[in-house]
Symmetry: C2
Subunit: 451 residues, 2 copies
């Protein structure tokens, strides 16, 4: 019955998703403030139409949160769906094959910023809810909280959760913001890395200088920044910040063995992203490097003349955005502090250094003996025909550990993305089949969870 409803409403569902995707809700840029409000309003309307008996846009200090609910019977279990309506900036624009905010379907995939992350994935929940409500098969209570700041650290959601603890009471938080190992290797994400994100600025002269007249006698902020960044990792790919690894939980030999059972082909990995060789911390496999080891990556760097041709200057300053992915039991506040202390300490005399912590989040692990894990496992087995593997993702959803701290509720990460979706990259996409099977699987999850 549910399957029939999904099929009959397929075109309308996709059209609605396209409407949602067209709103350029980029949280990193203040110019999109009004798009955030528009997007939240659109979602509240959509959830009301889908069957919510309460759906509203709730203000925060930052972007609003969309809250909706349908209480079928207070004695039944409650699922709290979490998602985010904000998206990554679309840049670099010239690498998109179509407009970043105009969805197009090609080879049965939806191309658009947010197609997967997270508009496509969160809208599966709206459609699963609508299907169950419309066909009278909703087996438990449902609540939705959809925020607009996930990509910039969920700054306002912590406070909003604290202020609304009672309203948000639930048995499980259900999240679709992760990927499957592969379409034919379904998985449930049990681990997420934490994140500490900083911006660093190295400044020297009070203006750009002529590199001939001053070159050799002035510490060049761009050269210095390069040296400082270079020194943050050693030749074995280990991070050199004192204390950085102190709380990293090393796997036991048995855990490592299990961990490396997940299917992995170095050749396919390299080919899928076009790299000439794999790389990473010495002594660990690729799966371990992204799953259980911390990282330090430059996300952006700029300084001096970056236009066409040549300009002979010593730049007044150089800047970098640096993020560190963290693993249990690292604490993002402590790591940000260690980074800042170290970075300031290694600055040479000829420059000034500024470190600005941007956002962060704690690592998270979902126990596989959780009832919701069992329900998700059965649901996926039903729709994919295969029992899912537990998977440790390299990604971060910082707010997840916040939910546990503030609400005391665990989260279940049942995402339907694939690596080829290119989230955060130009030409982000999401498979139409992933969208439709996701809806089916969510409905199956509710059924098993309410049992």
């Amino acid at each position: 019955m549910a399957g029939q409803y999904i099929e009959q409403n397929r075109e309308r569902s996709l059209e609605e998703l396209f409407e949602l995707l067209r709103i350029p809700s980029v949280s990193a840029k203040s110019e999109h403030k009004s798009d955030m409000v528009k997007c939240a309003g659109w979602l509240a309307d959509a959830l009301r139409k889908a069957g919510a008996d309460r759906a509203e846009v709730m203000p925060t200090e930052g972007n609003p949160v969309v809250y909706a609910q349908k209480i079928v019977d207070p004695s039944k279990p409650t699922v709290l769906v979490y998602g985010h309506y904000d998206v990554m900036p679309p840049e670099p624009l010239d690498e998109w094959n179509s407009e970043p905010f105009e969805p197009v379907i090609k080879d049965n995939r939806i191309y658009c910023r947010g197609a997967n992350d997270d508009k496509g994935q969160l809208y599966m929940h709206a459609k699963a809810f609508e299907t169950m409500a419309a066909t009278g098969t909703l087996p438990c209570n449902v609540k939705f909280m959809i925020e607009g700041e996930e990509e910039i650290g969920s700054g306002s959601l912590y406070r909003w959760c604290e202020d609304n603890r009672e309203m948000l009471r639930a048995d499980i938080i259900l999240v679709s913001d992760t990927s499957l190992i592969a379409w034919d290797v379904p998985s449930i994400t049990c681990g997420l890395r934490g994140l500490a994100y900083v911006e660093v600025e190295v400044s020297g002269p009070d203006k750009d200088l002529h590199s001939g007249l001053y070159g050799g006698a002035v510490a060049n902020p761009a050269n210095v920044l390069a040296k400082m960044i270079a020194s943050l990792t050693d030749d074995n790919g280990r991070i050199t910040i004192p204390g950085f690894y102190d709380k990293v939980r090393e796997l036991t030999p048995r855990e490592r063995e299990d961990f490396n059972k997940a299917p992995f082909s170095a050749e396919e990995f390299m080919k899928s992203i076009g790299i000439p060789d794999i790389y990473g911390e010495k002594g660990y496999t690729t799966i371990e490097r992204t799953g259980v080891r911390p990282t330090l990556d430059v996300n952006g760097i700029w300084g001096g003349y970056t236009g066409e041709g040549s300009k002979t200057i010593i730049p007044a300053k150089a800047t970098a955005k640096i993020s560190m992915r963290l693993v249990p039991d690292q604490d993002h506040n402590e790591i940000s502090r260690l980074f800042e202390e170290h970075f300031v300490a290694i600055a040479p005399a000829g420059v000034r250094v500024k470190v600005t912590p941007m956002h962060g989040g704690q690592p998270y692990v979902t126990p596989t003996d959780l009832p919701a894990y069992g329900a998700a496992s059965k649901a996926i087995e039903e729709t994919f025909g295969k029992k899912p593997l537990p998977y440790y993702s390299g990604g971060s959803i910082p707010i997840i550990s916040g939910f546990e701290n503030i609400l005391g509720t665990k989260s279940l990460l049942m995402g339907f993305g694939l690596d080829c979706d290119g989230i955060h990259s130009p030409n982000e996409s999401y498979g139409v089949d992933n969208f439709l099977r996701g809806i089916e699987t969510i409905i199956a999850f509710y059924k098993y969870f309410a049992e």
Copy 2:
């Protein structure tokens, strides 16, 4: 008589210079192609009006060259004036206090891109020529060659000089494109550093990647570029490229002693450019570091997300513009080659590296026993009241050594800029007094040179 003429025509001269400054003749950017042509035409007209009996815009493969001449008597000596009408890009635009291409006078200084480098300085020659022609005091023949590609390496001028050797025959090439040590410490530039300018690109994945999902398992091009740049200099500020110093002429103890007699205050130097400490190659003074030692400076660096807020990506590539200032007897072609070989050799396996040589020029030294040096020395002593010091500038005018090779003619570098002019920087300026006294001094130079 000349002094009176300069004073009477002061306002008109400045108005004409302002017209020249308003043309945004940025050679680094192809969008300014028509401005280059416009600027050349304007200058040819101005030189004709100033008294040239021939003045024309001559095409090259790139931007045109302005050629003009007045032959008073073929048996008299000939001065060939060289200058350039192209200017540096004005970026960063938000650091300008006024429009980059709308000259304003403040505190008796002209603020505009090109106010000094080189429009203000070359226009002194047009006005000195006009003054001598109008007052019947031109004591020798004058030729002008004003190019439009100095800031991007004078690519077309070499060929143009080869094609016009006969026309360009002269006893000295007179150039005002350098600075005085200070207004009260006048100087003649006897040494210029050479230049080798390259752009390097480090690329890895075929698109920006999610730094969570891939972080730790992929060589990050921005981190790698930082490491590669960092390794190009050691802890003593020495450049590590094999063979880089092989042809560097070390000063004798006696030469060093003389060289360091030029007035220098570390405190004033630091204050003038707002740096917290001096810096440079160990074992050398600041004057030596800019005058007789080679350098390696990052002029620009960029990669990944550089906008507002945070974006968690591994950039597909990272790029830097790097220039090396060279000293006798380094050869820029050889240094570019050594750089490229080394940079490719040190690239780790997980990335691809591309090195693009941009432009270069040889170091140059003017002997102080040249007749033109003596004439310039007397002229400066007459107008400044002090005998000028010989000065070794850190800057480069690559074409100068080209002139000697192609035309067999030496150059005399009599510039009237000051360090505070901020050439190549935002808010470039040139003192009105420098402009006027420059005209006077050039006229005096002609007088002594013709004696």
